[in-house]
């Protein structure tokens, strides 16, 4: 499509043309007058005709240009009215653009939220299927929870006061009474059977009647769990013996205690 001249260019060119023609016309008129004055009828008449023809042509040209200018001005007026419509349409389009941008932003946010939710839901489904594939007995879970909370590491006992020797971590006395502490004893005393080593803390605790109540409370989880933990390690090692039949009994007692008493087993009130 050939690019058309804009109306502004047409108007300006019309005005330029009128200016040039007006100048030519005034020059032509002046020359006409000069020739008329200076020369005689004969010579002047001979030259006057082309001058007057030229003059006439210039006059016609300026009139035509003026007509063109007026027509172009009318066109410009119509275009001015159309321009108002253009401005209104552009405003409306801009308003819609703003709304579309807002909508796009909201959709993007929604997509992000949904993607996050779907991802988390998929993860949950995966963990559910994993749990369904390897079910765990609820009693065992409670037992382990019991054992974990028995050491007071999760929460202090309700009766705990300042000065209470109980700590959320095993103290040095408890460590000495544990398996690692008695390993040293075993080495010192030479050869000692493993079951004997396991029986020992029972005797030492029973003999320790002078132990104050708070310390007894401290050792409460030892008395209940001390045999169980080595028993677990025993089962790992595959050692069989007379200990096995005692273990289920201890575990049953533990389970009975757990099922009847909902509070933590680390409390000293049981002692």
């Amino acid at each position: 499509m050939t690019s058309q001249k804009s109306t502004r260019e047409v108007l300006l060119s019309c005005i330029d043309d009128i200016e040039i023609i007006a100048k030519l016309l005034s020059v032509s008129t002046l020359l006409n007058k000069v020739f008329k004055e200076l020369l005689d009828n004969l010579i002047a008449q001979k030259q006057q005709k082309p001058m007057s023809t030229e003059h006439t042509q210039l006059v016609e040209l300026v009139l035509q240009k003026d007509t063109d200018l007026k027509a172009t001005l009318k066109l410009a007026e119509e275009q001015g009215v159309l321009q108002q419509k253009v401005v209104a349409l552009e405003t409306e389009v801009e308003r819609h653009d703003v709304e579309i941008r807002n909508l796009q932003k909201q959709l993007k946010e929604a997509e992000q939220l949904l993607a996050t939710a779907i991802f988390q839901a998929k993860q949950k489904l995966q963990s559910i299927s994993r749990a369904n594939n390897k079910p765990v007995n609820s009693e065992e879970l409670i037992k382990f929870a019991h054992r974990i909370s028995a050491s007071n590491a999760v929460c202090a006992p309700l009766t705990w006061q300042q000065g209470d020797p109980r700590r959320p971590y095993p103290t040095d006395i408890e460590m000495r009474l544990g398996f690692l502490g008695r390993l040293g004893e075993m080495n010192v005393n030479g050869h000692m059977s493993f079951p004997e080593l396991l029986h020992r803390p029972n005797h030492s605790l029973q003999q320790g009647s002078s132990v104050p109540n708070s310390q007894a409370g401290t050792y409460s989880w030892l008395s209940q769990n001390d045999l169980q933990m080595p028993c677990l390690s025993v089962s790992h090692l595959g050692v069989s013996g007379g200990m096995d039949h005692k273990n289920p009994k201890k575990e049953n007692e533990d389970v009975d205690v757990m099922s009847t008493d909902s509070s933590s087993s680390s409390s000293s009130d049981s002692q």
Partner: protein, 112 residues
């Protein structure tokens, strides 16, 4: 007539041109009068120049004449089409139904 950004006097150049020609064509015997006529002609020429400059200024300020009329009509047509498209797009997304079980089950059926 719609709002005009110019008056007819802004582009009335012919009268000034006529005045110039008339003052140039005047035949005077008296030198003083001749001088006066030539001065008058000179003033008319200046006036014409001023009118031409004023006309150019008015043309530069006129709105909507950056394009030809055909191009302007084409621009209006394009803007109208753009507006229709954008309006339809917005209506489409505004009237979209939120998630519901019927469409969800239809989607699942189509997937299987």
């Amino acid at each position: 007539m719609a709002t005009q950004h110019f008056s007819e006097g802004d582009f009335d150049l012919l009268s000034t041109i006529y005045d110039i020609i008339k003052s140039v064509e005047k035949e005077q015997q008296d030198n003083a009068q001749k001088l006066k006529d030539s001065q008058e002609a000179g003033q008319k020429v200046l006036e014409l120049q001023r009118k031409l400059d004023h006309a150019r200024e008015v043309v530069k300020k006129l709105p909507g004449i950056e394009l030809s009329k055909d191009e302007q009509l084409l621009q209006i047509d394009l803007l109208r089409r753009q507006l229709t498209l954008k309006r339809d797009l917005l209506n489409k997304y505004r009237s979209i139904t939120s998630f519901d079980r019927e469409t969800q089950s239809e989607y699942q059926i189509n997937q299987h």
